[in-house]
Symmetry: C2
Subunit: 439 residues, 2 copies
């Protein structure tokens, strides 16, 4: 049997502790499957005295993860610190620079520094694995990087943030408002005390930017993602969607178009009967449209200590099974030096169906005016519904439009023209409709 | 760049031709991703003169695949002949014996000879990859063999046969009978001229046996799968399932129990709202319940030339990326010599819910008798529904029972006791209900 694979874990939070336990308790089975032992020789965390229920006696302790990366007797540096800056970034640079493999769950760091880190890993002949960084336990990175080799990807989309999906599911299922669902998610530990990063779509954008690079062979461009969160989604929108046969999901979508690659994160209408509509609660899901394979969907737990640890362990096991220096496994699917620049497709040129909800004052000619503004912008309507509040004449009515495929710039122009008419009784709500295979 | 990887393709049917085209047309992109060229140097098929639209001028032709395996200048032998016997088996033995890697889509061969072939591959230090053998383009083998390393699997179940799922979907959606749907599937090329192997569940059983080995680290035991096909499913069953909130799917299920491992293929009731219930038409899906990760579901095209070729290409690319002789990748997840014998859990001891549909003569005391026979066998009922044909008294009525979790032996004893009463007007229908996460 080959020498044991020695790993150091930086960060002993929920994921780090779950990984430590899994490797310790499954030592023999892992050795049998990997053809060599996997042993933890070093750990690093902020507080040495905290009781994590782990037996750390036989491992070297480092207060500084970068010191562990440089000095510990390890083959693999597992980064579970998080954050796009130091100490995580510095420690990973140090590990790669010293010729150690790196396994990380850090989507923020990869979204910002992924290409630089991939280059460094490749020039040092080591592996950079990050299955856990996107969609938690779902093996979407491996699917993209390995299983789909040779396929050209047309579109990849998914539910990549469990917090948002939990909130939207709860609103829809239990007829609850956004704020109430958010509070509950916080109480249950599904949302952070400061939930902005999740609910405003930034977490999804980071993950999407990584997937985009793998899907299209382009550099990671997380600053060029169009992002809308779910904070404006009301229970009325959820109801209206339901009546029209849709569910609202926060999707991250990357799509090849004639003018470049769209990267967008926004609340999205998906047909009720589609598989992605059935993805509920904190579950994540990713659909990949590939030209040879067809459509592949993966779903599973997108967060949580154990699920994330499982993905990290899979990455560590892959390193244990390979013989260092004898594998061609560029981190982003193709050599980092050969990634193409990301060419952004402008959101204004996005094409698709739109759901538009307008609160209008109840006066003559409004309907005709709305229809005219739409026609002037070459928008053809699939349906138009007026939802009156029963028994309350002369108060604002809601008009809901569903468009056929049209261009975003046209929708924005039409909505601006309607706003200028002066009969709106509130901000218009515009939600994009995503085509799925079933629709 | 490393030397090119030379491959030989045995079998130039739909899959072989699709693979040939993909490798030829994507040569440069594959070389970039894999770090070396992939070139086809040899092919073997039955009829050299047939026009397949492929340029075979620069490749060596072999009438005999075993001769290609022995004599051709190849690193990888791709077996797309099919069938559990020769010439496929002999050719794969020859290839492995000569130290060539093998990629195969042949589930029947693996179900019968998989352990023997895995041993031979491992003792010769070569790889045996077979992603395409189970669930077509869905990367379930890679997920089990790599991503889930370290996880203990509790249950794996899936829709593994597109023909059956197409027929059941069509019956449910369009209110058509079994025979009519089968004819249509044959007309569309979704079912073979002799459909027995698919609709009687044997194809699913082969695939399940392979998954069982990967999931539980046991030898492949395809002869020990409990198999029921879908030929007895009537449109009445589909309607009754629908009314009770279920869909009927042909599932393959492998499950760890106290008395061994269940392997079973049978029509199964799954809750309408579950994700697996949304898997329609020829699409396949697999759900894996793993102790660290949680529940992972993969779905996608389970058959078809292109989807299968995509999986084969992924396997070939994995070999191109690895440096031969420097990877520990046992075919069945752990070394074939260390697989445990398969210990079968008897079907009689299966526990679960049951749907039981009885056609009974319309006479006094029947209901009481049925309820008594159930109680005598310790079966507790979740619901009991009598479905009368409107306006037709004194003709047989249908009584539908749904049980709480109970043991198969009890259900069989109860049904036998009811049959002995003499009031049944036809064979009872018994369909197992499968628990899903959502239910």
């Amino acid at each position: 049997m080959t020498d044991a694979l020695k790993i150091g874990i930086a960060g002993l939070g929920t994921v780090g502790a779950a990984l430590f336990r899994a490797i310790s308790t499954r030592h023999n089975s892992l050795a049998e499957i990997c053809g060599r032992e996997i042993i933890i020789t070093a750990v690093s965390a902020r507080d040495r005295t905290r009781d994590r229920g782990l037996d750390l006696d036989s491992v070297a302790w480092f207060d500084d993860p970068a010191a562990m990366a440089r000095e510990a007797d390890i083959d693999v540096f597992v980064e579970l610190i998080g954050g796009d800056g130091d100490p995580a970034h510095a420690a990973v640079l140090a590990a790669l620079g010293r010729g150690r493999h790196v396994v990380t769950a850090n989507k923020a760091m990869l979204a910002k520094h992924g290409v630089e880190l991939a280059r460094l890993a490749e020039s040092n002949g080591v592996l950079l694995n990050f299955e856990a960084a996107v969609a938690g336990g779902i093996p979407v990175i491996k699917a993209m990087r390995e299983s789909l080799t040779g396929n050209s990807i047309q579109r990849i989309y998914g539910i990549l943030n469990g917090t948002c999906n939990y909130i939207l599911t709860r609103m829809q299922r239990d007829n609850m408002g956004f704020a109430e669902c958010l509070s509950e998610a916080q109480r249950l530990g599904y949302a952070e005390a400061d939930p902005a990063f999740d609910i405003e779509g930034n977490d999804t954008a980071h993950k999407l930017a990584i997937l985009t690079s793998l899907a299209f062979g382009t550099e990671i461009a997380s600053d060029e993602v169009y992002v809308e969160g779910i904070t404006n989604i009301s229970i009325d929108d959820i109801h209206a969607a339901d009546e029209l046969g849709y569910r609202i999901k926060l999707l991250g979508v990357a799509q090849r178009t004639a003018s470049g690659i769209e990267q967008r994160v926004h609340p999205t209408m998906v047909p009720k009967g589609s598989m992605i509509a059935q993805v509920e609660g904190v579950t994540n899901a990713v659909t990949i449209e590939a030209d040879i394979l067809g459509e592949l969907m993966l779903s599973g737990p997108g967060a949580g200590g154990d699920a994330t640890a499982s993905a990290v362990l899979g990455d560590v096991a892959d390193i244990a099974k390979s013989r260092p220096g004898h594998q061609h496994a560029p981190a982003l699917g193709r050599p980092a030096t050969q990634l193409e620049p990301y060419r952004r497709a402008r959101m204004q040129s996005h094409e698709g169906g739109y759901f538009i909800s307008l609160k209008v004052e109840d006066r003559a000619g409004v309907f005709a005016s709305i229809a005219t503004r739409m026609a002037e912008n070459a928008i053809s309507l699939e349906s138009i519904v007026q939802r009156a509040r029963p028994g309350r004449a002369a108060v604002p009515q809601t008009v809901i439009l569903v468009t056929h495929a049209t261009m975003e710039s046209n929708v924005r122009a039409a909505v601006d023209a309607i706003k200028a008419e002066g009969y709106l009784a509130g901000e218009p709500q515009v939600i994009r409709i995503e085509r799925t295979r079933e629709s």
